[in-house]
């Protein structure tokens, strides 16, 4: 249309890709010209996201290649495609929740130097980008505090910041209101004029037709065709999208239905759906369809207590309590989840255990399960459903997808209830099993049960269901009788439905939420201020009771006690910021005193410097060992450092079975050297912390640390070497442990294996009390230092108050529990939980190895 050159920016040729049991892409060729907006559309599962992931470098294609400016390119990981000027904007947020908007936008390429970045410039540029999108988000606000649509805007702003030649947007408007969408289109149009190529995935035909130059339709992993948007209309496109060949025979529909069983009235949830009304009769199969992510999953999950909702639901005429899964089951509702590996199966367990788990009381007497009766019922189901397995004791993790799904069905086929909800019942299942599943669902309905089937496969809905509800934008937009349902009708209703979000976002009063300096300061340092207040209270109270507390002598002795714990907490904090933990901290300190009692002594063969270096090297080795166990052998942080705890403690005992050795007096003098009344070691420690806080705020390494701790998966995709960050943190932790050990050795003047052990818990206490999240991503050096001070302060105060020193164990434990409970209650764990799941999948997939 405008200033279009005919140069191809990116082309994929002959791409094929198959996953176990599915051919996702078949010989796909596709190109996007310079300065073109090219829309890619297709039904759910047509292969759009697979194609985009191949372009991005998430996984390789089986066949075919990618060309940029005519030259072939290979991407092994997302950061490779990023380096080639390809930027992706995903539908689900790929941002680091614990960083602010500016940090997210510039992550990994912060303006300024290589180690220290220019915060002002960074904020300013980020603010400009966000404002270009017409959004009034302060670039200094934390991403975790933004709404879904604001996050989408930040994601787009980040993509724009790359100045990429190729921009790929996966349903960018699904969370945006009409005015926000319009602003995005204006920007895309502007970029197009500048020569950027844009691949735009969307299900909203009106907007696709208005913004795109050309439209390519994908169906069943194959290209149907490419049309120019100026010469087509939505009817033609819908016709291109549909028309898949029918590869399955469906069981005949019911002739008549019975009584109304389930009735849903005015069901709504604040975030995902509204005004949902429907009913299901006995013997009826109700289908729910539409484009994925329009609220249909939330609707059915709310009927099983998995999403919160308001409205009335009656079963057999009586109002049903569906507030939790167990209550829903009692009310007669069963939900069979889409993701059977995550929500349906107990993978390591046998088929028998998987099938019988919800029905155990059936075969039980006094809590003991009658194995024979259980086995008999299970075997009946295995035979009835033709599950192919040599034995009912085989673990389900070994079965094929189809057989796994049959196990799930057998579980619920065993004892029938009133309402069954099947979420994507045939996902990842072979054709033969699909047929059997359709037959089973129909049989269940015929027995007088109300069945709801949620599916993204329109063919499946049309063939199987008696009635279909089409959901778009969180509400039912169309209702079709199964016999009359056509693909055109269902897809057409779903993709042409206009969003009524327009009014919602327009009526919302947009505040210019520029953050004040104070509020930004408070966000980071509120726990620290709280600690400071607590310190003052304790100090005031103790000073009131004991005149010796406020003497310079006491402060000097406090300082010498703070130094080693502060050093230990320094390393512990880095590890905890990454969501890990270093239990070997204590033993490493012990071991350092033991080594020091041989290498830093009066008549040693080593000089003091060499002796100290040997101690530090030992600490680094411990850290490296932890890093290798965690990163290379993939043993969890907890178990790895538990194992090294034992190993290092044993080693320390071998070196120094009983306390002994005499530390060199010169070294003692050096460690205890005072500047005025303040020990120099303390001053050095404080300086270290100041440096750390500065690096956390302004250093690229600090951002990397927070990013990796907050969301390792996203950090990895942005090219951060997450493996090195983690191993580095453990090495640093070992190093600070040996530094702390040296100070302890100087204080006690000898080697003592018991001297270091308490540091494991006290260092953790100091860090979590200082406001760090044990899930990673949040911590401040200031908070940790104040946490350390508090720990030592309480000890000291209790001494002055003549309280038994034994109380320290009680308040240390209690304080830790209190702090962690308070902080974890504040954070929204559902989000964290999902992130952790993501991370677990990521780690277990072994992709992290590539870094």
């Amino acid at each position: 249309m405008i200033e279009k050159t005919n140069k191809t920016a990116i082309a994929v040729k002959g791409i094929s890709k198959s996953f176990p049991g599915v051919q996702a892409l078949k010989n796909v060729s596709f190109e996007c010209k310079k300065g073109e907006i090219h829309a890619l559309i297709g039904e759910n599962g047509a292969g759009k996201s697979t194609l985009m992931k191949i372009i991005e470098g998430v996984f390789p294609a089986d066949e075919g290649s990618i060309f940029m400016d005519g030259k072939p390119v290979f991407f092994r990981q997302p950061s490779d495609s990023l380096a080639h000027g390809i930027t992706m904007v995903y539908q689900d947020s790929n941002l680091i929740e614990d960083l602010d908007v500016a940090q997210n936008i510039w992550l990994g390429r912060e303006p300024g130097g290589r180690f220290i970045f220019n915060r002002k410039k960074m904020n300013h540029q980020a603010q400009q980008l966000v404002e270009k999108l017409g959004e009034k988000i302060d670039a200094r606000s934390l991403v975790s505090e933004l709404s879904v649509s604001e996050k989408q805007i930040v994601e787009i702003a980040r993509a724009l910041s790359f100045d990429s030649q190729i921009l790929i947007l996966d349903e960018p408007t699904s969370t945006l209101g009409a005015s926000e969408s319009q602003r995005l289109f204006d920007i895309l149009d502007h970029l197009r004029r500048q020569g950027t190529s844009i691949i735009f995935i969307s299900h909203r035909l009106p907007e696709v037709l208005s913004i795109a130059d050309r439209i390519t339709v994908l169906k069943d992993g194959e290209i149907v065709g490419t049309v120019s948007s100026s010469s087509t209309n939505s009817d033609e496109i819908v016709t291109m999208m549909v028309g898949r060949t029918l590869d399955t025979a469906f069981p005949p529909r019911a002739q008549s239905f019975g009584e109304k069983i389930l009735e849903v009235k005015n069901l709504q949830s604040s975030s995902s759906f509204h005004n949902v009304n429907f009913s299901v009769r006995s013997g009826e199969i109700l289908g729910i369809g539409g484009i994925q992510g329009n609220g249909q999953q939330e609707i059915v999950r709310s009927l099983f207590g998995l999403c919160s909702s308001e409205g009335t639901v009656t079963i057999d005429g009586a109002e049903a309590d569906l507030s939790s899964p167990s209550k829903a089951i009692q009310s007669g509702v069963i939900y069979v989840a889409a993701d059977r590996r995550k929500e349906g199966l107990f993978l390591p367990h046998s088929i028998r255990k998987n099938i019988s788990v919800p029905h155990l009381s059936k075969w039980s007497h006094l809590g003991f399960v009658n194995r024979k009766a259980e086995k008999k019922s299970v075997l009946e189901q295995i035979n009835a459903l033709k599950i192919r397995t040599p034995s009912d004791e085989k673990s389900v993790g070994m079965l094929s997808g189809g057989n796994q799904q049959k196990v799930v069905f057998a579980r619920w086929y065993l004892a029938k209830t009133r309402v069954y909800i099947f979420d994507e019942p045939t996902q990842g299942v072979d054709v033969a099993t699909k047929l059997e599943i359709y037959r089973l669902i129909r049989e269940m309905a015929a027995e007088g049960i109300a069945v709801i089937v949620l599916s993204s496969d329109v063919m499946e809905l049309n063939g199987l269901c008696d009635r279909i509800l089409v959901v778009a934008h969180g509400t039912v937009v169309d209702e079709v009788a199964g016999a009359d349902a056509t693909e055109e009708r269902v897809i057409g209703s779903a993709v042409t439905a206009e969003s009524d979000k327009t009014q919602l976002s327009e009526t919302q009063v947009r505040q210019t939420n520029t953050l004040s300096k104070t509020s930004i300061f408070l966000k980071r340092y509120a726990p620290s201020l709280l600690l400071l207040a607590l310190l003052l209270v304790i100090g005031g109270f103790t000073a009131n009771k004991s005149p010796y507390f406020l003497t310079s002598r006491n402060f000097a002795s406090l300082a010498i006690l703070i130094a080693p714990l502060a050093l230990a907490a320094f390393g512990q904090m880095l590890v905890i910021t990454l969501g890990g933990i270093d239990l070997s901290m204590g033993p490493t300190i012990s071991m350092t005193t033991a080594i020091a009692s041989f290498t830093i002594i009066g008549e040693s063969v080593f000089s003091i410097v060499t002796g100290v270096l040997i101690c530090l090297a030992a600490g680094i080795v411990v850290g490296l060992l932890n890093g290798i166990l965690i990163r290379v052998f993939k043993i969890s942080d907890l178990v790895s450092t538990l194992a090294t705890y034992s190993i290092i403690y044993g080693l320390a005992l071998v070196i120094r079975p009983t306390p002994g050795g005499l530390i060199n007096f010169d070294f003692l003098d050096f460690v205890e050297f005072r500047w005025g009344v303040v020990p120099v070691v303390f001053i050095i420690t404080v300086l270290l912390y100041v440096g750390l806080e500065f690096l956390l705020l302004r250093g690229t390494i600090g951002t990397k640390l927070y990013a990796t701790g907050s969301n390792e998966y996203v950090a990895f995709n942005l090219g951060i070497r997450v493996g090195w960050v983690r191993v580095g943190a453990y090495i640093f932790s070992g190093l600070t442990a040996s530094l702390a050990g040296l100070v302890v050795a100087a204080r006690i003047g000898s080697g003592d294996v018991q001297s270091g052990l308490p540091f494991t818990i006290t260092s953790i206490t100091a860090v979590v009390v200082g406001g760090a999240s044990i899930f990673g991503g949040r911590s401040t050096a200031v908070g940790t230092f104040l946490g350390v001070t508090l720990v030592i302060f309480i000890q000291n105060s209790l001494n002055f108050l003549h309280v038994s020193a034994y109380w320290q164990y009680i308040w240390a434990g209690g304080l830790t529990l209190f702090a962690v409970a308070i902080y974890s209650l504040q954070t929204e764990t559902p989000i964290k939980w999902q992130q952790q799941l993501k991370q677990i999948n990521f780690l277990s997939s072994g992709k992290a190895q590539k870094s």
Binding site: F304, P325, S326, I329, Y335, A337, K342, E343, G344, F346, L347, P348, H349, K353, V357, P358, L360, S361, G367, F368, V369, R371, S395, G397, M398, F633, I635, L638, V639, L642, A643, T644, Y645, S646, I647, Y649, G650, L651, L653, V654, I655, P657, I761, I764, V768, S804, Y806, W807, Y809, I810, W811, A812, G813, G814, T816, L817, V820, A821, S824, L825
Partner: protein, 321 residues
């Protein structure tokens, strides 16, 4: 890492009986060849007697690991029970019931609070139980003022020091408990729930299993068996001893992990833990017998924890195909 292949050629019994028994037999044979004293009947009985303390405590730890958690507060509970029971009994038989009931109550309470913090307050199991250990140990210290006093009643000695048909009572108590609890965990609804919650808490929730209650109960089981183990141990030594529980902090986890229970939850059994207990006990008594410093024991134990995790992962991978 080449063993992946060789594991698949191992006999089926390797998986069914459990790798740990091969390890126990192998270690015992090696130790006996190197130091024939290990093979004597008296030494076998002695092994059984001392293995019982760890064995009973590790039964409880098994439950926590099966639900995917960890309990580092068992050490504190053992110390506290040792202190409490001796100070209440002060050598008098009429105080036994009171002492035992109080110890059981306190332990169950500790387990309950652990479970509550982990489920309702969403504190991670590690932080919860590590802090709880400090709290409980501190309570024992404060209670005694650092100077424990009291002793067990002579009537209580039979449990830890007695013999029945020439076999130490501790061993009989341990094996009876372990086998009956092991059987129950596989054959009761509650036991099946424990495994289900450990393998997939979200799926368990969708099956209508009361996940939080199951989790809390697992931590209560852990404290309960720490208490029972501590009572038997106290009966054996007869006196209070501060910090007597510390040795179990890591060994109870080591015994369970060596016994084949996965730290990821849902896989393993109390029967495996019997083997794991024997393995750890044989190892430590062997290192003592050949006069190796105690530090070597700790080093071996740490290595074994890491190695077990790696080895069982290979076995598991092999089984899941």
């Amino acid at each position: 890492m080449k063993p992946t292949k060789s594991f698949s050629t191992l006999p089926e019994s390797f998986n069914r009986i459990g790798a740990v028994w091969f390890a126990v037999a192998g270690l015992y044979a090696l130790a006996s060849i190197h130091s024939p004293a290990m093979f004597q009947y008296g030494q076998v009985l002695n092994l059984l007697q001392v293995a019982a303390f760890l064995g009973i405590i590790a039964i409880g730890q098994t439950f926590v690991l099966l639900v995917g958690g960890i309990d580092l507060s068992q050490a504190g509970v053992v110390t506290l029970v040792n202190i409490l029971s001796t100070s209440i009994m002060v050598g008098k038989a009429e105080n036994i019931v009171e002492a035992v009931i109080l110890c059981l109550f306190v332990s169950l309470f500790v387990g309950f609070i652990n479970g509550l913090l982990i489920t309702i307050f969403r504190v991670t199991p590690l932080i919860t139980t590590l802090s709880m250990n400090s709290l409980v140990y501190g309570s024992a210290l404060v209670y005694t003022g650092g100077m424990p006093h009291g002793k067990i009643a002579p009537a209580f000695e039979f449990l830890g020091q007695g013999h029945f048909l020439g076999i130490p009572v501790t061993g009989i108590v341990w094996l009876t408990l372990a086998i009956s609890i092991g059987y129950a965990s596989l054959h009761t609804i509650y036991g099946r729930w424990i495994y289900a919650v450990g393998a997939n808490p979200q799926a368990a929730r969708l099956m209508g299993i009361p996940v939080n209650s199951v989790l809390i109960s697992a931590y209560m089981m852990s404290s309960l068996f720490a208490c029972l183990g501590a009572l038997v141990l106290t009966s054996y030594i007869g006196l209070p001893s501060l910090g007597i529980g510390d040795q179990f902090l890591l060994t109870s986890i080591a015994a369970v992990v060596v016994g084949g229970t996965a730290l990821t939850g849902g896989v393993g059994s109390v029967f495996g833990t019997i083997g794991g207990t024997l393995f750890i006990t044989i190892l430590s008594s062997y290192t003592r017998l050949i006069n190796q410093p105690i530090g070597i024991q700790f080093m071996l134990q740490g290595l074994i924890i890491a190695l077990s995790v790696l080895m069982y992962r290979l076995v598991q991978k092999n089984r899941l195909g």
